[in-house]
Symmetry: C2
Subunit: 457 residues, 2 copies
């Protein structure tokens, strides 16, 4: 065993304790009330990087939350890897569904339970600990490395693209390494080569100028909650096809080869349903579950509200009704274009009895990485050595819009080296991350850096 | 001027202060947290009645909130009037939309602003003050009177019907007098002879066993919020006809005479829209706005919730979605039957991808009072003398289910002597009641008691 892998083996407890430190910080970026905690999480990463004697560590201010940057150049001839991660997390609500408090990390059955355990504190921290294992074991680091950690991923990274545009030279690299995705299944290492994009909208339907009594006005006045429901219902047909004109225009059809690859992925639909407690699945007709979940665009209601939501009954005809509605996008759909089509369509189907306001939240481009890229191959080999299993290459349904931006601004392809699981319940109560995958992640990262120079030749 | 009317004139300030006392009590029956306040409001009425030297005042315990009873028999040969009112109120939310706090009554531009000002503390209190004006001015009270005030009207009066069934003899009367409705317009006294019934339901659509990430699962799994919207959309067709099989079976069609009467009611549709801030109205095709608002059944979403409702964006595919949906009913629809048809229909249109739970909240029968009843005529004359204007006789869209119950259990018709206005914003922020109508209400009530004996002959 190399000195590096030995260091990892003998420092597991220390790594875990350090991860717990950052998991205890409620760095929720969607809520302005947590601004201070977000800053604290950034400070933690600055301290971590500073302890590794890098050439440079900087806490960059932005218009929003800070960006933590670090770099170590060992040999300009060697490949340069830019590690990207995010230290902000989703809100924990509904908080009463957590078995243990979201910001008190707890290990149960080999899993770390905490908000951010998998997404993305736990996963991105592996690459910091990998470098540490070289430095502290006195081993020369085999490549050049740069780190960029942001605190606004969960709100659409509004300041990251401006930052990478402004710091194009500083961030120059041969590839971007990101661990913010899931493995295909337990003990099944996987490399994600495609991601969906996102257009996230908010719709407000406004009817009468105040809440009305549903007895006095019911029947005479159009009800915004009924109208909103009727509008949402019109957005998809019975076959699950999205009814926004032009929505599918830029969608690249799946090739027969891709569909073949999808059919060959290990997938047990019964088990999938069982785990979700579902009797049946449903979605766009003509596509398999895996295709629908990763290679086809969607339209989902993420939030819905109107009128009285309390205990008992209130006979109110609500003045307003609202919904958050997001669409996952696939190559080559453009989030701005889709947001525009959505807005136009929603306005076109709104009855004259109401006013409809549409707001655009964050969006992101879909992306695909070239399967022949040497970085991807080195990553595959690293996985194979640590997990003793050849990794799968698959597309994933989630969005990491920054992947498309790194491609566009830095000309760098991304390697999505996921150590999480789909069952990690990211964005849900009881988010978790397997302790063994935290450790294997550190080992895989270290192995990847070791293998990269030879693959680059 | 009679001694009674003189007493009213010279005690306006005192009456107002007393009304403010009960308006200050947040007797919200829909929230168990306010149980104590509900009891306090009952105590207030007990004190009020006890100060009038009645034959009997009793605070009856029920399984829920107390029922306050009082009676005064002057001459068994004279008609007996049972005054019904409720001292409980709707919740004040959304509380931030109130210009002044809901439980700090404030007079602005001649209106009393407070939760319960119109519905029903202010209106029902007129009949207590009318009796006081006889007693304290030393005038013989011309009829026999009984009072029954409940504290559960806003939660469907679950204990009132058992109470009147149990106390049939105690409550024996020639008519029921209720002030819990609105006048047709300002300075336009009106007597309501028809009321709609109510069936109030709650629907919960349950999909996956936890909130999911909309990127990872979106497209593969049916989204309960989309499903709920689609189900609600199916409940009405484009003509506003409710699509529940059997829903209209028991509806008595409007006669041509009734429709003629509707057309003759003073109604300015442009003004109606303006006051509500609406560009257009909508409802069941083939019926006028007034017909739709009072003589036709409806289906309204009163509340809607799912997923993330906070600031910003959360990419959640929610595990559940819920709605409160109520239907206003007209003669001879039966609330229990309609609740059953609704439940069956909802279950029949639910896709197999979700589980749907339907709960029945309170319901009530629709009702119609005979236009030739002498009590109605005396009430009309009392209005005419006080308001110097002939009252209109109209049906109203709201529900007072107890009216049907009084008819059924006590064999007594109800006189709905409304002093409120449709613009009183009952069940909404900034509920109000015109101070002048509070005083005219007391005068009309006193005049009604004075006229009743001669009309009964």
């Amino acid at each position: 065993m190399s000195a590096v892998q030995e260091y990892i083996e003998s420092n597991k407890e220390k790594f875990k304790e350090e991860l717990f430190e950052i998991l205890r910080i409620p760095s929720i970026s969607t809520s302005s009330a947590h601004k201070q905690h977000v800053g604290k999480a950034a400070d933690f990463l600055v301290d971590q990087l500073e302890s590794l004697d890098l050439d440079r560590v900087t806490r960059f201010k932005t218009d929003g939350n800070p960006i933590v940057y670090g770099e170590l150049t060992t040999d300009p001839e060697k490949p340069t890897v830019l590690v990207y991660g995010h230290y902000d997390v989703q809100p924990p609500d509904p908080e009463d569904l957590w078995d243990t408090p979201p910001f008190e990390p707890t290990v149960r059955n080999g899993d770390i339970y905490a908000r951010g355990a998998s997404d993305d504190k736990g996963q991105s921290f592996t690459h910091v600990k990998a470098l540490e294992s070289y430095i502290k074991s006195g081993t020369d680091f085999p490549v050049n490395i740069k780190y960029i950690f942001e605190g606004e991923e969960e709100v659409g990274s509004p300041n990251l693209v401006p930052f990478i545009k402004e710091h194009r030279e500083l961030l120059e690299c041969d590839m971007v390494l990101i661990s913010d995705t899931a493995m295909f299944a337990e003990d099944t290492p996987s490399i994600t080569y495609g991601l969906r994009g996102l257009a996230y909208m908010e719709v407000e339907v406004i009817g009468p100028n105040r809440d009305l009594h549903s007895g006095v006005y019911g029947g005479a006045v159009d009800n915004p909650a009924n109208v909103l429901s009727e509008m949402i219902a019109q957005l998809r047909d019975e076959d699950g096809r999205i009814q926004i004109p032009g929505f599918y225009d830029a969608v690249k059809p799946l090739t027969e080869k891709e569909r073949e690859a999808y059919r060959n992925l290990p997938f047990d639909e019964e088990e999938y349903k069982d785990k979700l407690g579902l009797k049946a699945l449903n979605g766009e007709k003509g596509y398999s579950t895996l295709e629908r979940a990763s290679a086809r665009p969607t339209l989902d209601v993420n939030g819905l509200w109107s009128g009285y939501q309390g205990e008992g009954a209130k006979t109110v005809l609500p003045s307003k009704a609202g919904a958050k509605i997001s669409m996952r996008l696939v190559p080559d759909q453009d989030p701005k274009e889709i947001a525009k089509l959505f807005t136009e369509h929603i306005q076109s189907i709104a009855p004259e009895t109401v006013t409809v306001e549409v707001t655009e939240h964050h969006g992101g481009h879909p992306s695909i990485t070239d399967l022949s890229f040497y970085g991807l191959k080195a990553a595959g080999k690293a996985f194979e050595e640590v997990y003793q299993k050849e990794p799968l290459f698959a597309r994933e349904g989630g969005s990491i819009p920054i992947v498309a931006d790194f491609q566009k601004v830095l000309g760098a392809q991304s390697i999505l080296m996921g150590f999480g699981l789909n069952s990690d319940a990211i964005h849900s109560p009881n988010e978790k991350f397997a302790l063994k995958d935290f450790y294997r992640g550190i080992k895989t990262s270290a192995k990847f850096f070791e293998l990269l120079p030879e693959y680059s030749e």
